[in-house]
Symmetry: C2
């Protein structure tokens, strides 16, 4: 069996675990990612809410793979996959051949056709996203402090999160905590308890994939933190002034998008059938129909599990897919001998503020403090690298004990922020 060339596109949960699974394979492995780091996305909202720093939850990919002598890491952007010629094309003109290809390019946000909303309502998928949101949140409090009356300040103290899935719930809880606990003593002129946090969800309840009892519990926790949960409501418009929800308009500078995912547009160049979210419909072995050497994994992949439902777009699923595909490639298992991919559901959880969470594992439901501890534990274990685990535990301990947030930095100076927003105020 001669060594083959394996290209992995994407250093997220899927791609990175595929690469690690090929550490001892007799192949040449090349991993290409648009950034230089593996990002622990489930905790990215904590960078946005100023609890963690970016480097607490990201690890340089080449550092993680530095001991794998058969693996080279490139920072590059793949713009086209030519499955017939077995080549990938990069943005800067480079072209690379492959014998095996693993596509783990993940997903971005979908704005349901209203692309113009994106600049007013950023999502949280990358570090720049999270830092942008953090800056907006912290700057809003600063701007509110400069206002002469609460009515002027209110639009800086309104936060609207669109999307009642786990990300939206977690962000809403985190912002409510910043306002009502962390910032309480820090401001003299504004009353940060006047902060209003809205969570908007189109379905009849938040966390629609969870059982009703757990969704209700989550809503209860959120309302306890001061979040106004608006279910069964669709967003009609988003402008720089705020958000239209049905007939109502909420003035806000802080609108965060946590609804709707769309798989990376690179997948279109695969010329394979895609589902409604743009994910590739793959075979039971995660390969592209007719091309057993090309695999699509993680959030980019639409793969039927043992039931009719596709495997969910979750980090543990991406990890399992990455390892599965690595095993096939390592042994070069021919198509007819490959066992189908089987997703082992290790449960899902969502946290709501400090010390509360909900979770389910098979038929087991849990909530409250035990769920939160489980949530913390699982996230720590999935983090890459001892250093990151240690730092995150530290930051969480600090944050839990003191109600302070460690990373409340606005990087930009006010000159830069003012030139961005061209704000004028009358002299007083």
């Amino acid at each position: 069996m001669s060594p083959k060339k394996v290209i992995i596109i994407g250093g997220g949960f899927g791609g990175l675990n595929a690469a690690k699974g090929l550490a001892r394979a007799n192949h040449e492995v090349v991993l290409i990612d648009k950034t230089n780091h593996h990002l622990f996305q489930p905790l990215l909202y904590q960078v946005a809410s100023a609890v963690l720093s970016p480097s607490d939850i990201a690890a340089p990919i080449r550092e993680v793979l530095s001991h794998q002598k058969n693996t080279t890491v490139f920072m590059g952007n793949v713009v086209k996959i030519d499955k017939k010629a077995r080549k990938v094309h990069l943005q800067n003109g480079d072209v690379m051949d492959y014998d095996y290809l693993i596509v783990g390019v993940g997903a971005r946000h979908s704005y349901f056709g209203r692309k113009e909303w994106e600049k007013h309502a950023p999502g949280i998928k990358t570090i720049p996203d999270a830092l942008q949101i953090r800056e907006t949140i912290l700057t809003s409090f600063e701007k509110a402090e400069r206002c002469d009356s609460i009515s002027q300040a209110q639009k800086f103290l309104n936060f609207v999160i669109i999307g009642g899935g786990p990300t939206g719930v977690e962000v809403a809880g985190a912002i409510a905590e910043i306002a009502h606990k962390t910032m309480l003593q820090n401001f003299r002129r504004i009353d940060t308890t006047k902060t209003k946090v809205y969570l908007v969800e189109g379905s009849p309840s938040i966390l629609p994939v969870y059982p009703q009892k757990l969704s209700n519990k989550a809503q209860q926790y959120l309302e306890g933190l001061g979040v106004q949960v608006l279910t069964g409501k669709m967003v009609s418009d988003i402008t720089e002034e705020g958000v239209g929800i049905g007939d109502r308009f909420i003035e806000s500078e802080n609108v965060i998008w946590a609804a709707g995912n769309q798989a990376s547009p690179l997948l279109k160049t695969l010329k394979v059938e895609l589902d409604r979210q743009g994910r590739c419909k793959v075979e039971a072995d995660l390969s592209v129909p007719g091309y057993p050497e090309v695999f699509v994994i993680g959030d980019a992949s639409h793969c039927k599990g043992k039931t009719d439902q596709p495997v969910p777009s979750l980090a543990p699923a991406a990890v399992q897919m990455g390892r599965y595909v690595a095993r096939i490639i390592k042994k070069e298992t021919p198509l007819e001998k490959r066992r189908p991919f089987y997703y082992v559901d290790k449960g899902t959880m969502a946290t709501i503020g400090k010390a509360k969470a909900i979770g389910m594992f098979g038929h087991i439901r849990f909530s409250g403090y035990p769920a939160w501890l489980a949530w913390c534990f699982v996230h720590i274990m999935y983090l890459i690298g001892f250093r990151n685990r240690f730092l995150v535990v530290l930051e969480w301990t600090f944050s839990y004990m003191s109600n302070h947030r460690g990373s409340r930095l606005i990087h930009s100076s006010i000159e830069k922020l003012l030139s961005k927003s061209n704000q004028e105020k009358p002299p007083k």
Copy 2:
């Protein structure tokens, strides 16, 4: 004694310590800073060299002052001081009155009249500066990895630091370490030991304020780390291709400016005599001539010490000035009763890579490992906040033991970096 209104411009070492000194004063205190954080500038080069995160060395000012009920913090940019009317004008049009004014606005870099050099050779004064440099350094290694030959890669592996003072020396040592230790296993195609680091200084020796023996020692340490020290050399030009030094031209994408300071341009509006670096010439009590209620402290201040030399622009000096002025204002000591400011020299130190430093305290000179330990200790003690001290000790321990750097993140994706540099490469 009725309460007075004290405005402090700048939340650096001077301004923040002045504010803390007024915690129990019977006055209303307002601190205005362009950013929302106090920055521990002496360690900023470690953010640039990917050892520390920004939030390890910065603390939100309003957090630090949150227990002082008499103190309000604003994020704002003061553009004019009207000392006759006793008012300060902000960029957004606000105007504030004061009874006492403390100006601690610090310094920026001076490019000796060649402002166009700044975009090719950034300095390290703010967090965005440091992150920009970090991104450039790490991206250079990534670009070098993509080159087909070492000759193509070399310009990405050349680093030029201009200015042989403590900052320049510390940065040069840090970059040499990244290249020759940290990155060693991480790259497959390039040999990071081919990295060339140049430190350029116009004077006959680096660290010109230190005694010759210590400067020589520092140079020896740097050369041991692989740094080429070019003394008695002036920079003739800086372009996007690299740096002209006398007749020589060094191709480089990584040019860092660590030479020459210039006090903030706000001081011109004080209409007071300035020195060559733009610092205000103040009286012995740090007040502006003729205006005993206006004080200028820190790097913005030119104050004669007990000798003819002005008090140096160092963090400990700024701290002492801040506390001194706070004592005067707290008691409202009239001009004729004020004792002159006296700077207590607690020594200076500079570190060169891991486990080496030089320092002097009065007539005592020291170098090597003991100097480095002293350097670490002093910096930890001056950091604001337990959390920051703890994290920095942790990061240093981690970095020291493993030769890894904790914060090797390039935030931007390659798409963004490519659109910035418009780079094209032929297909291979």
